[in-house]
Every structure is written in C-alpha cells, then in structure tokens.
Symmetry: C2
C-alpha cells in the first residue's frame, strides 16, 4: 500500500479568496487521486493532521474536505486506520442532470435536434402515475421536443414540459440551441438541484422509430423525470425515450441506504 505524497507546504490555498478553503483542499486532493491512482491496490491518503499541517488549515477544514470526497464516493475512511482512495470508474450518461454536460463528461460531443415548441394544456399521463401524485390542476405548459444525439447519432427523444407561468417569455428565448439548463439559469435564475425519476421499458412506435432511426417495435427505455430546485420548486417535467441498442443509462456510484 503506497501513500500519496505529503511534502510540506507544497501548494497553497488562498484563505480570503474565491471559494471556501475546504473546497480548494478537496479539489486538490481529488486531482491528486486522479493522477496518482492507477494501480488496483488501495492507496492511503495522508492523515488528517498531516493534511492540516501541509495546507496550514485546521483539522475541521480538512475533515470538511474529506467528508465531501467521501460523499462523492471518491474515498472511504476507516476509524483508527486512515482514509483511502477508491478506484475511479469512467463516466457515463446517467439520465439525470444536464444532458449536455453529462455527455461532455463522458468524452463525447452532445448535440440536440430541435423538433418543435408548442403549448399544451396538460402533462402526459405517465408523469402523474409514476412521480407526481399531487399535481396541481392542469395548467398550461410549454412542450419542448428535442432529439438528443451523441456524436451525431440519435440516442433519445425527449419532451420537456415547462410551466408557462414559471417561464414567461420562453417563446422568445433561444431554446433551439444551447443547453436548456444554462438558459434557465441565465434568464430566470433557476438551478436544477434534485431529480426524481421513474424508468420503464417500452417499444418504439412510428414517430419514435423515425426520429431515432430504429425499427418500429424495437425495445426502448422510457424515463419520466421531475426536476426541482434546491428550494423545492418544480422546474420541469420530462419524458425521455432512449433507444435500446448500445448502452443507455448508467447510474454511477450510488450510495445504498
């Protein structure tokens, strides 16, 4: 078991600066582990006291950094022994979060083909069945339909439902290009933070088959998703249909209970 280097005062964190110190420490450690962990043997981190001395911060700050890495699943900790790096896995599309950023993280090029943007008077039935037992009475929604592509190959057909009262002036926003999440943040200040999702299998009908370039009756995954802000405001309802050939959805590093 080889230990990561703990050379003294190697790098510095800026105390009165942009981001909190504990996050700077966490980022530095995460970067170390990405470069240092190639073998399968588990690698020990310096102890909390050593890290505190190295970065010239208190142990509380070091613990905040390590707790953050632990929550992300990058390290595990053993009382009385030390903290250890977990072997890293490669990225994948999880079906949550921004399609754009996720595909970029996986190392591919995400594109979207705009289909249309219309107004509808209700949500699709599946959302209510699966996720939102207590929906408000039917309201008006923008329905944004897009085909999501990875490296120019269509992988998903996606209908996004956006409350017309929540997004005034959406028609004039340039949703045809760029990330919808980026637009939501820029124009209305909304930041997606939580997602509840339901997944079920299905088969492609004529419309889906045409858009995804697959045969009618081919297996697909239907994902229903409700995205909310940190403040518990519903930001969007999504019905996404993923094609079934090749891998589809990976749920990575999911904490059990």
């Amino acid at each position: 078991m080889k230990a990561l280097s703990a050379s003294k005062a190697r790098r510095f964190v800026q105390k009165s600066g942009a981001s909190p110190v504990y996050r700077q420490v966490a980022d530095l450690l995460a970067r170390d582990m990405q470069h240092g962990v190639s073998r399968s043997e588990r690698t020990a981190l310096p102890s909390e006291n050593e890290l505190a001395a190295e970065f010239k911060v208190s142990r509380v700050t070091v613990r905040q950094a390590l707790d953050e890495l632990h929550r992300k699943g990058l390290i595990y900790r053993e009382k009385g022994r030390g903290s250890y790096a977990r072997s890293q896995h490669i990225g994948g599309v999880t079906g949550f979060g921004s399609f754009t950023s996720e595909v970029e993280n996986a190392g591919s090029k995400p594109t979207s083909r705009f289909i249309d943007l219309v107004k509808v008077a209700s949500l699709p039935a599946g959302i209510k069945i699966h996720l939102a037992k207590t929906l408000p009475k039917d309201k008006n929604y923008h329905c944004l339909t897009r085909v999501r592509c990875v490296d120019s190959k269509p992988v998903a057909y996606e209908e996004t439902y956006l409350d017309t009262e929540t997004y005034p002036g959406l028609e004039r926003a340039d949703v045809e290009k760029g990330s919808l999440y980026a637009t939501m943040r820029r124009l209305w200040g909304y930041q997606p933070a939580w997602a509840d999702a339901a997944i079920e299998p299905g088969v492609a009908d004529e419309v889906i088959a045409k858009h995804l370039g697959i045969k009618v009756g081919a297996p697909v995954v239907i994902a229903w998703r409700v995205t909310s802000s940190e403040q518990d405001e519903v930001l969007e309802y999504v019905k996404a249909i993923y094609r079934g050939d090749g891998f589809v959805l990976t749920v990575r590093r999911h904490k059990i209970s």
Copy 2:
C-alpha cells in the same frame, strides 16, 4: 409560512449513549417533519441557535444534523434566511440496495422464489461491457437465480454472481430464504455500501416470460449492477430483468451534479 414548534427542552438527547448526538437530533427533526408537514406550503425549521438551545448541544452539532438532513434531501437551507422542510415523497423500489428492505419501505410484502444455485466459470457478458472494464481474469462464481415478487406477483428475474473465494461455504448457507444482504453481513461481515448500475431495454425470451408470467417479446428492463463495500471490495454482480407492466424503477431524490 408556519414554523415548527421550538418549545424549550421538550425532548432530550443522551450524550453518552448509543448513537452520536447529531444523529439523534437529525432523527428527531426528521420525525417532526414527517408529522408536521402536510400542507404544500413550505415550513421553516427553528434556527440553528434555537435548536442548539432546545437540545442543549453546540451549534456545530446542530449543523452536523442539519447537513445530514440536507444531504438526504429532506431540507434545504438558505443563507441569511433559515432552513426549510422539503415536501416528502412516497417511497418506491429504486433497484438499488436490498430488494427486501426496499419493498418493505414501499409498504408491500417482498418475497423471493428460489430457482437454483450453481457454479459458473465466468460472468455474463453484459457486466463487462457496461460496468467493469477491468475485470480480473475469469474466476469461479456462485450463480444464485431468484424470481423477486411483490405481494406474490413476480416482478423481476435476478441472477446474482458471487465470487467463490469471497464466500466460502455459501453452498451450506441458507440462501433459499431470507435476505441475501442479511446473510452476507451475518456470515462474512460484508456490508453493501455502493452500487454502480447500467440499465437497458430488452424483450422477454421464453425463460423470462415463463418466470415472470408475461408474453414472449414483451418489453422488459435489464439492469446490470455491481455492488461494493465501503472499502471498495466487490461484493456481487447482478443481472436483473424487470417486467414492464406497471411501474418498475424509481430513482428518488437524486442530487444533480
């Protein structure tokens, strides 16, 4: 906006006791919110200082409790304003963690029909493709096949692959009844902590159709899962095939980025 009660010294935490104080505080607050939040309006919690006074603990301890609730998605916090309860959603089967406990949490009765337990010399191909790029060379595995049922209705066909070196004497363990996770913990001290999963659509073949009571060619969801301990030891590889009628998998309260 109604505030949860903050009556003084209403309940007590035991300082030198079973569980850490911050967890006792978190559990008490979680219970309060379950009972107190019925309306859709957002509910404010007492401030950190008020909670510290109420439970007679330091503010740091209160913050540890609130951070835990925040990570679980039960509350959200706003700098300068306060902490607020998030509206609770009902439970569902997530496809991760113990099937037994998850179905029980959802309020149904989980059962398993044992099919067989045999030795195989390699893992199914899908696992390698989706999740484990760097598998050790083929080893021997126990292959435990079960049909998982909710309220006596079959919902999933599941093959669990367990390393023969990791689980010596598994043949003599009573895996035909009870939770496999409970057996793993009791006999070998293993505790599942993390899961990586991949999901893809498929159609039922003859074997699957017979076991799940559906028609050949009916849509199903195939879930590949690798479960690991906190210490990064692989505990099991699972291939699960879920039937497609009715809801299947819900991924609840998933934090984005």
